[in-house]
Amino acid sequence: MPAVQETVEQVRSIDVDQYKYGFETDIETEKAPKGLSEDTVRFISAKKEEPAWMLEWRLEAFRRWLTMDEPTWARVDYPKIDYQNAYYYAAPKAFVAPKSLDEVDPEILKTYEKLGIPLREREILAGVVRPEGSSRVAVDAVFDSVSVATTFKEELKKAGVIFMPISEAIREHPELVQKYLGSVVPVSDNFFATLNSAVFSDGSFVYIPPGVRCPMELSTYFRINERNTGQFERTLIIADKGSYVSYLEGCTAPRRDENQLHAAVVELIAHDDAEIKYSTVQNWYPGDAEGKGGIFNFVTKRGDCRGARSKISWTQVETGSAITWKYPSCILRGDGSRGEFYSIAISNGRQQVDSGTKMIHLGKNTTSRIISKGIAAGRSDNTYRGLVSAHRKATGARNFTNCDSLLIGPHCGAHTVPYIEAKNSSALFEHEATTSKISEDMLFYCRQRGLSQEEAVALVVNGFVKDVLQHLPMEFAVEAQKLISISLEGSVG
């Protein structure tokens, strides 16, 4: 049936070619010399005024990286990355850590305003800019290689929560950083994590003291702006005994014909009875309909449920990036700990997604749950790759995995590659996966009840992803729902 005008316009407004965060901010920046060498690493470390141990750590990572090969096992195909032809550090010129927002370059503030990211506490407190959500969110805004603003620092400090750029934490809380940095994702973990260890420039650091429930949602907003620049951020979140934190992450980048590299590392540590909820809405520039440009997103995210009864939950909505290579994982070390992974990955145009999770059961009575929904449209490829393993001592481990794929159109591909390894007889693993197109029966049923074809499709797809959406915090659920209606509407016709 022909699409109604309204839909046609909505589709146009959200097609890959219409990426609305694709603008560029014209701002003078200071960059590290192009290319990657020990000097680059030293330059970044010096810029960040890091202590000697940190530089040593970086250099060791860099030397290790030189001996490693880029992995090729993922189902993604991209031109070879020339690591010498990029900048590894870009900061707004004359950047001194601003004491207040008034000192931040107004161009940058404007950028975040355009992106709808509230950095002005006043306005947030007054509830002016966020009519849809009543709760407050503390934001750390990372612009290229540096954190430009962190809000609500004072209020968080009162609760004992440390929320600051990691570059600051290295200086102010070296004992915490030294203790935890690289303890979940070791320096030599993989090619991209090692690269990140050598050249990471900023990111967020969160520490929640024992027994504290973080009074507000924490959020980091990543923006790549500079041309030819890679972004390498590092996030480290530690939830001490009995604490709770919910953390949100968002990201966008300008539209460019060239590909840009984003290789982040996120480490989460949950001690006894602590809980970390980590949500991502990943909306990097995906490239145009022909696959030109877009972000190469190679991310290592891992959570360590170190304490008994701790819990880590990953929720992600993936709609952007030309290439996604990302496997947020949980190491369930503490007895009775729990890992969760909820994911919606939508690919359109020529996007390639290879994403999934790892649930590694080490402790007794550990449980995990994986719900993954992949939606492929256009000429994209969407792969779920996941590992669930129970080690010898993981008595009573339980896992439930459900990964479903939906294909929209005849030129896309959906793939499922789960690895299930049970080394303990009392482990109980269940895995199910389905791939299908929207069933004619379902559509017919809806149409019979007076829904239009498009409404029916929207209803079915919303039902398809509902399991995941309900795990997103309020702030993101609305945005995610909008993103999903995008890929959906853009594909049915």
Partner: protein, 443 residues
Amino acid sequence: MTQATVTKSEAERQIADAWTGVKDRLPGAAPLTARREAAFKKFEAAGLPNRRVEEWKYTDLRALMRDAKPLAQPPGEIGRVRARAAGAILSGVDLRRVVVADGVLLKDVSDLGGLEPGLTIGSLADALTQGDAEVMGRLGAQSPAEKDVAFALNTAFMGDGAVIRVAPGVKIARPIHLVFCFTGPVPAAVFTRSLVSVGAGAAVTVVESHEGPDGLDYQVNTALEIVAGDGAEIDHVKIGTEGAAALHVSTLTAALGRNVQFRDLNFTIGGAAVRNQIFARCDGAGSTLSLDGATLLKGRQHADATLVVDHAIGGCKSREIYKGVLEGESRSVFQGKTIVRPDAQKTDGKMASHALLLSETAEADHKPELEIFADDVVCGHGATAGALDEDLRFYLMARGIPKKQAETLLIQSFVGEAIDVVANEGVRDALTAAVMRWLEARE
């Protein structure tokens, strides 16, 4: 992470030496010699499959093969006596026996008299020596297993096997039993290749069984290639009862025409390390495949079932049910991949693999993959791993059934679902009895 193997393992060196020694004596002339040579080159470049090779991730053949045995000698008098007694697991079932002992098809021990009209059974070695056009054509064509290195080794070294042809429209009621046995007396390596061609509208049941003495660490690399014409109906059962120290690598390929019914059961209880790989490809619409498996392991046995179901064309249905029962420190591997090619619309594929872990130290690994490039399909897979259901056992025990018997009943029904695919009642009963014997031998 280097791809090329710089240092060759002992086994790899021995295989290379064996190749130099025997390549001029292997059956078959010109085009085949080149094909063998190319296959060997493939092995030489890649080395033995190891855990760095994704398809062999869980079965590291390079580590499992400490050495490569010399090629087996044709069986002597004692060997022939043993060959006559082989395949006893199916005694009492009316079958046409074709015996391949130590890699040689023994015509005098086989039951080749009174073949049904339209059925021919011959030896691969004969066909190669005589330059049989059809056989040469098939061996020269692209096989669904083309990329696999273990299969390439088979192509390089294959000596003998059975060539079975069923003419179009002919339905063979009496199952054909390919009895593969290793008779000793010293450990050796056997490479057999068998070909089954089933004409359009024809029907046949082929059962293969593999066995050998417990005390010898012999090595078997066997392959069976099936080509089915439109509307053919094929039942295939593979019974793996190799000796306790044996290494067994088997490849089954199936290229199916239109509206083919293909049913396969892979039954494995023997061997120290076993790899069963199946490559099935639907070349015509309307076919139905059922690939089932039952694996019962104990001690330190390792069994790997790797399936690739390639829906090259739409409108086919595939079903896989694999059941594994694991005792001791045994390990089962299931890797199943369903491929739906672009435009293979209306494909219906379902894959299930279930492992029952009876001991603390057993291990089950599953990797059920979907690779889908068409949008109007229904594909799914399920995998479970766990211990016996306490509630079910309690239910039975509460009704006065002793613990062991209750477990036996539960395991039997668990495995039974897979064995049920076998249409021939006699074969099905024989396998059910083999499961019972295995269960009764449990501690």
